[in-house]
Symmetry: C3
Subunit: 352 residues, 3 copies
C-alpha cells in the first residue's frame, strides 16, 4: 500500500474528533458514494433522501448523523455535519501532487519579480516585473503573473491563469485554469465628435483587483480590474466556472456564486449570499447580506433584505409554452379587461 493513502478508521475518528462505532482497526483506502463504494472505502450520508441506500452499501464505514447510525450495517463515524466531516476526510485521499518548489527552467521570470521561499513556478510561466509570489505559493504551467501583481502565501494557480495588472491575491487563494483576473473593465465613452456620426473612446482602467484570503475562482472566470478604484472580493468568496465580474464590483465575504453567473459594473453584493447558476446582477445595485438568488434570475433592482429571490417562467412543452408566451405580450391589456369586467360587475352589483 505504499504510495496510496491509507488510514485506520480509528485514526480518522481521532484526527477529526468523531465518535467511532464498529471496528476501528480496519483500513480505509479511499472514499466512495453509498451506491458505489467498494470495501475499504468510506462513504457518507448527509441528504436523508439517500437513507435507503444505507442497508445495501458495501462501504466499510459511513460518516453520518447520530440518528442514522442505528440503520447502518457497517462501521460508522458520527458527525454533527457529515458532509463537512466527509470533506475533511476525503482531502486525505486527494492525489493532487504537491508542487515542487523552485522555478522551472522554461519559465520566464523578470529580474524585478520576487519569488518567496518554497514557492513553485511551473513550466512556461511568465512572471513580469514587479510581481511578487509569496512563500509556498504554487504557480502551475502556462500562467502569466503580470506587472505588479501579488500572489499570496500558499495560493495556487492551477494552470494557464492570467493575472493582468495590479491584481493582489490573498493567502490560500485557489484559481482554476483559464481564469483572467485584472483585464480592463469595459469602460467606454461615446464621443459625438469622433467619426462621422460619433464613435467610442476607451476609458482607461486604472484600478486593480483585490481578492481576499481563501477565495476560489473557477475555470474561465473573468474578473475585471476597476476603472479608478479596485474591484474587490472579500475573504472566502467562492466563484464557480465562467463567471463574469465587471469592474468595481464588491463581493462580501463567504458569498458563493454558481457557474455562469454575471455581475455588472459597480454592483455591491453582501456577505453569505448564494447566487445561483447563470444568475445576473445589474450594475450599480446593492444586494444585502444572506440573499439567495435562484438559478438564472436577473436582479434588476437593489435587494435590501435577506431572503430568496427569483425571476423567469417555468419550462413547458413548446406548444403550450408558445400559446402562453404569446399571451404575455398582451398581459397589461388583459388586466385592463378584467378591471372593466370588475367595474361592470360592481355597477351591476350596486344596481341589483
Amino acid at each position: 500500500m505504499s504510495g496510496v493513502a491509507h488510514y485506520r478508521l480509528a485514526q480518522l475518528a481521532g484526527r477529526f474528533g468523531l465518535e467511532l462505532r464498529g471496528d476501528g482497526a480496519q483500513m480505509i483506502t479511499g472514499v466512495g458514494t453509498l451506491a458505489t463504494a467498494a470495501p475499504g472505502q468510506l462513504s457518507f450520508l448527509a441528504n436523508p433522501h439517500y437513507r435507503g441506500q444505507l442497508g445495501s452499501s458495501r462501504a466499510s464505514a459511513i460518516v453520518l448523523r447520530t440518528d442514522d447510525a442505528a440503520h447502518c450495517a457497517s462501521a460508522c463515524l458520527i458527525a454533527p455535519d457529515p458532509y463537512v466531516a466527509f470533506a475533511k476526510i476525503a482531502a486525505l485521499f486527494d492525489p493532487t501532487p504537491v508542487a515542487t518548489p523552485g522555478v522551472h527552467p522554461s519559465a520566464v521570470v523578470a529580474t524585478g519579480a520576487r519569488i518567496g521561499d518554497g514557492a513553485s513556478i511551473g513550466p512556461l510561466c511568465v512572471i513580469e516585473d514587479g510581481a511578487v509570489i509569496e512563500a509556498g505559493a504554487a504557480i502551475g504551467p502556462h500562467c502569466v503573473v503580470g506587472k505588479d501583481c501579488t500572489v499570496g502565501a500558499q495560493s495556487r494557480l492551477v494552470a494557464r491563469v492570467t493575472l493582468v495588472a495590479r491584481v493582489t491575491l490573498g493567502k490560500r487563494v485557489l484559481v482554476h485554469p483559464g481564469a483572467v483576473i485584472g483585464a480592463d473593465g469595459f469602460g467606454l465613452a461615446f464621443d459625438r465628435s469622433a467619426s462621422a456620426h460619433g464613435g467610442w473612446i476607451k476609458v482607461p482602467q486604472l484600478g486593480g483587483v483585490r481578492i481576499g484570503n481563501d477565495c476560489e475562482i473557477g475555470a474561465n472566470t473573468t474578473i475585471d480590474r476597476g476603472a479608478i478604484e479596485d474591484t474587490v472580493l472579500e475573504e472566502d468568496v467562492r466563484l464557480d466556472n465562467q463567471i463574469q465580474i465587471a469592474h468595481n464590483v464588491h463581493i462580501g465575504a463567504h458569498t458563493a456564486m454558481a457557474g455562469c453567473a454575471a455581475v455588472a459594473g459597480s454592483a455591491k453584493i453582501g456577505r453569505y449570499c448564494l447566487i445561483g447558476g447563470g444568475a445576473g446582477i445589474l450594475g450599480h445595485l446593492s444586494v444585502a447580506d444572506r440573499v439567495t438568488v435562484t438559478a438564472r434570475a436577473l436582479v434588476t433592482h437593489s435587494i435590501h433584505s435577506a431572503g430568496e429571490y427569483s425571476s423567469g417562467v417555468p419550462l413547458q412543452d413548446s406548444r403550450q409554452w408558445r400559446r402562453n408566451a404569446a399571451r404575455f405580450k398582451h398581459l397589461d391589456d388583459l388586466v385592463r379587461r378584467v378591471q372593466a369586467l370588475e367595474k361592470e360587475s360592481g355597477s351591476k352589483e350596486s344596481k341589483s
Copy 2:
C-alpha cells in the same frame, strides 16, 4: 494548381456515390454558397428556402435533391441528404494543415509521459507525468495535458487546451482553444464552526472526466471532473463554445449543445438531445432521449419524454414589455380576481 485541392466533378460523384448530371470533366477547386460561388466552385441546396437562387448561381456544380435537379442550370450531384454530402465534399477543400509528427523542441514533456506513434506535440506544450498521447493524436501549441490524462488516437487539441487531471479522451475527439477539461468541480460544504459565522470548506474532487469517441468540445468550454465518480460524455457528443458542464454530469451519445448552454452538477441528459444556445439544466435532473430544449430555456424539472421544451417570454418594445412585466408580478392575484368574477357570474347565472 499544385498545392490547391482540385477534383473533377466525376471523381467527386464516384468517391461519395452520388449521381452526376452534366459535365463530369470540369474541375472543382473549392466550395461556395449559391449566392456567392464563383465558377470552379461547388455549392449545395439543402434548405428549400434558397431554391430561388438555383437559377442565378454561378457555381459550376450544385449538390441537391433529385426534385430540385430540374431547376438547376449547372451540373449537379444528386444526394438524398445534400447537406451531408456537401459536408463530406467540402472536407476535401479544408486547408487546415496536417500536424507534423514528433515533439516540438520547445515542448516540456515529462519523462513519465507516453507519446504514441505519429503523434504530434506542438510548440510550448506541457505534457505531465503519466499522460498518454495515443498514436496519431495532434496536440497543438500551448496545450497542457495534466497528470494521468489520456488523449485517444487521432484526437486533436487545436491549441491552448488544458486537461487538468484524470481526463480520458476517446478517439478522434476534437477540442478547440481555451477549453478546460477536468478542473475541480464546484464542491463546497458550509462549516458552521469555521470563522465567526461559518465559512466554506472545499470538498475534494476525486473523480475524473471520460469523453467518448468522436466528441467535439468548443472554444472556452469547461467540463469539470467528478466529485467521487466521473463526469461522462458518451460518444459523438457535440458541444459548442462557452458551455459549462459541472461535475458528475452524464451526457448521452449524439447529443448536441449550442453555445453558452450550461448543465449543473449530476444532471443526466439522454441520447440524441438538442440543447439550444444558452439553455440551462439544473442539477440532479434527468432528461430523456431525443429531447429538444429551445434557446435560453431553463430546465427546472426532469423531462421524462421526448419532445420540445421551452421557457421565457417574447421580446417586445421595452415600453410595452415594461407594462406587461409589471403585471406579471400580480398574475396570481389576477387569476383570483377572474375566479371571483366567474363565481359571481355563475351565481348570477344560476339566479337568472
Copy 3:
C-alpha cells in the same frame, strides 16, 4: 516625481481644448472619483446624480459642464462632454507599459511569418507560418497567432490570445486575455446513415474572421470563423468579456455588446447598436441600426426599426414569484376564461 506622470492643469486644458477656471499652475498627478480623489488628483462630474459631491470633493480639479462650474469649489475644466474629456485626460495617467519592440527569445516564430517594424512579440508566443504582424503591433505573452492570420498595425493582444486561422485584425484592435478568434464554427450535419441510429458529421469551416479598425474584444470572448464566407466585425465594435459570436455573424460599426451576450450563426446586427449584458440573438436574424437590447433579453425575431427592446420577467421574492410563475403555465387558458366572461357580460349587456 520622475517616472510618475504629472501635468500642470493649464497644460491639460490646452492639450484637450478645455476652458480652465482656477489655478492652472497646480500639478495634476493622477485621477480619482469625486468621493475619493486626493489633492493633486483630477476628477469629473458627468452624471448629475453625483452633483452633491462637488462641494466635498478633495480633488484639485474637476472636469464638468459649464452649468456645474458654479457649484465647484476647486479649479475646473469645462467640457461639453465631461466623461469623454476625462477619458482622454486619464489615458495620460495609464501606467500600462509600452511593449518593447522585437521578438522575445522564448517566442516560437515560424520562418514564414512576417513581423513589421517596431512590432513586439512577447515571451512564449507562437507565430505560425504565413502570419503577419504589422508595424507597431504588440503581441503579449502566451499568444498564438495561427496560420495566415494578420494583426494590423498598432493592434495589441494583451496576453494569451489565440487567433486560430484566417483571422484578420484591423489597425488599433485591442484583444484581452483568453479570447479565441477564428475557431471552427459549430457546423454539423446529421447523417442518418452513420452509426446505428445516425450520428453527426462535421461541416468544415472554410471561412475566416475579419475585424475592423479600433475594435476591442473582451477576455475569454469567442468569435468563430465562418463556414464558407467570413464572420465580420466592422470598425469600432466593442465586445466585453465572455461574449460568443457564432460563425458568419456580421456586426455593424460602433456597436457595443456587454458581458456574456451571445449571437447565433449568420445573424446580422446593425451599426450603433447597444446589446445588454447576457442578451442573446438567435441565428439568421437581422437587427436594424441603433437598436438597444436590454440585459438578458432574447431576440427571437428580426428587429426592423431603431428603439429599445426587452424580454424577461421581474425579480420577486421567491414565494410570490413561484405563485405567479405557476399561473404563467395557464395564461392562455386564463385569457379564454376572460373572453368567456366578456362574452357573457356582453350578452347580458345586450339583454339588459
